[in-house]
Amino acid sequence: MYRRFLSWRYLVRRRINLIGVMGITVGVGALIMILSIMTGFLEESRKTVRGSLSDVIVQPHNLPRADGSFVPRSAEPLLAKLREDPRVEAACPHLSWAGILLQTGMDATESEYRLKDPQGGELAFAHFVGVDLEAEFETTELRQNLLREGSGGEGGFRIPVDDPDDPFAVPQSHEEDEFFAWVVVGEQLARVHDLYKGALINLVTVVPDPFRDELQPSSRKFRVAGTFRSGENEIDLSRIYMDRWELSDFLSDTHEYTQVLVKLHDYEAERETIEADLSRELSAAGLIHHDRSLEVRTWESFRGSLLGAIENERALMGIMLALIVLVAAFTVFAILMMMVTEKRRDIGILTALGATPRSVMSIFLMIGMWNALLGCTLGTILGVAGALRIDAIEMWLSETLQVQIFDREVYLFDHIPAVVTPVAVIAIVAGALVATALFSLIPAWTASRLHPIDALRAE
């Protein structure tokens, strides 16, 4: 096939084609790498966010209904109702409360002093979560999070609990202490505040006083039994798990639970309908305040803004990087236009030897496609390899440039996640091929329109 032979020869003999190939390589490679990283971010975020939640979160509003009644104070009726549903695999109650963590070993005066100094580095926002361990282990990933390696891989910071099945138990290295309950804190919270096994922490919060209709401060000391790691920085930096009844007691028995987390047998199959179904059923049973008040939400709608932001970012990055491919395709167009002018005489010679205008057109179209094929092949290899080795690349770059490129403290994860999806790679390569083909059409058509005699006379 002389068209393939000639187009390849023209490609390799004109080094300027390298610019087109390189442009497409960079565009395709960058698109694959960045989109893989963004997809990784999205997937990892979904996994992490879901892991620390569950499939569905039921959060009844504690407001009076029209008839003056409230939802039940106990979680048991809600749990019982949910566990009756054949779609539900497990459910657990959470008592979730916000407060402040004060550094260890302070007496009441010192704690008060610290509280008056909001700039003090030893104050930290803390999110207390009271759990029922058995139900929690069936519903969420807390048990896995207790066993997970510390950030930074093996040897990373971690205070393992003595017994993952009973993390709030007194560690063997410590004596029974009737005054302080044991809690499990987020790995990063422990690291930032130099906590250790047995460390004494003071938790401060405010609780509503049901008699005087005002908030009352409450503080209590706990001991650290160990750490957990969810992988989501926000949680690992603030969450403190403890026994639900212990927390309820700390809150002066004002609340028994704030949420019920639900795990479904097949979330993907139910995700579209579960919110509305459960809202209706639980509202009818008087277990939530209202059936249209967002008291029942899937984990995706619960953290929808975070996931939506990442998805938006991915789409935006895709659009911006697709422009590189378009510019590269335009470069191929410019190179081909130049080649058509340069090769006018060749076109005349080829016609004299028996080539048709269509053949001439296909020769120049093929040069464009060689550019695209080489660029896409190299770009795919570089993009996929770059995405798979992005952590090593980032570390090398950070060391070489002495600049921290990916701050592991800032993001949700301690590594750069990248997921290479074959469909995305195929779509990127197909897009680059189509764009180059379209941009090559005009020069190819121009070449085919040259009159052979004019072309032969070209200098």
Binding site: M1, Y2, R3, F5, L6, R9, Y10, R13, R345, D346, G348, I349, L350, T351, A352, L353, G354, A355, T356, P357, R358, S359, P452, I453, L456
Partner: protein
């Protein structure tokens, strides 16, 4: 695509032009360059076409070589009405049955001498008129180039060859498919006398050897003396009494 079953070279000319007219639009004016030119090229004949500059020789040659469409008239190539055929069929006919030798050689600068010579065979393969047997075509091209004194230069690119060498490569390229007709437009116009003489020797010997017909355009009367017939073109027409039979 280009079968010649109904064509008899003994009784019919291999190439015939009937009342060929060709006009060009120059601004608002239409200028007629060929005013009903006629020509017959018989099998194995060496025909010379002479004429002053601007007489229309090149335009006539382009029409005969199926590179430029006539405004009126027809060209019969091996009995086929060439300008009435679809473009692809006409291109295949040109590829398979006409060889061109140009004054400016017109070799593809990115191909070696050998690749230039085998290029028409590659094109013919795309039409299915000739099976492309790379080894056979390469062997024939190498053989031809060696006979033309270019055995050491087959892998050289045109810019590494002298003018005479380039023209010999162009002759080999024109003959690789053993065409019935060879059209040569001032083949020695860019060469010195000695080199031109060597090129002409090859041109005449090879066309004779391959029993091809030669249509030669030249200003050189000594060159015309070597042809079987000479036609003179004046103002876009073949002079009625210009046909001169050259005794061999």
């Amino acid at each position: 695509m280009t079968t010649r079953t109904s064509f008899d070279p003994a009784s019919e000319p291999v190439l015939r032009a009937d009342e060929v007219r060709k006009s060009f639009q120059v601004g608002d004016r239409e200028i007629e360059v060929l005013h009903g030119a006629r020509l017959e090229l018989r099998a194995r004949e060496h025909l010379c076409l002479m004429g002053a500059s601007g007489a229309g020789k090149s335009t006539f040659l382009h029409v005969l070589g199926l590179l430029e469409a006539p405004t009126e008239g027809e060209v019969h190539l091996l009995g086929k009405r060439a300008w009435s055929l679809p473009m692809a069929e006409r291109a295949a006919l040109r590829n398979r049955h006409i060889g061109f030798v140009f004054q400016a050689y017109h070799l593809l600068p990115d191909l070696s001498a050998l690749e230039n010579v085998t290029l028409p065979a590659r094109i013919a393969h795309s039409y299915g008129t000739v099976p492309f047997d790379k080894a056979a075509h390469t062997a024939e091209a190498v053989d031809m180039l060696e006979r033309f004194g270019l055995g050491e230069r087959i892998h050289h690119r045109p810019n590494q060859l002298s003018g005479g060498e380039r023209q010999r490569v162009a002759i080999a390229r024109a003959l690789i498919l053993r065409p019935e007709i060879l059209i040569a437009d001032e083949p020695t116009g860019n060469l010195d006398t000695g080199t031109g003489e060597r090129v002409l020797e090859i041109l005449f010997d090879e066309t004779q050897r391959r029993e091809a017909s030669l249509l030669l355009v030249t200003h050189d009367e000594r060159l015309a003396q070597r042809c079987d017939r000479v036609l003179v073109m004046v103002d876009g027409q073949i002079e009625a009494d210009s046909e001169v039979m050259i005794p061999q």
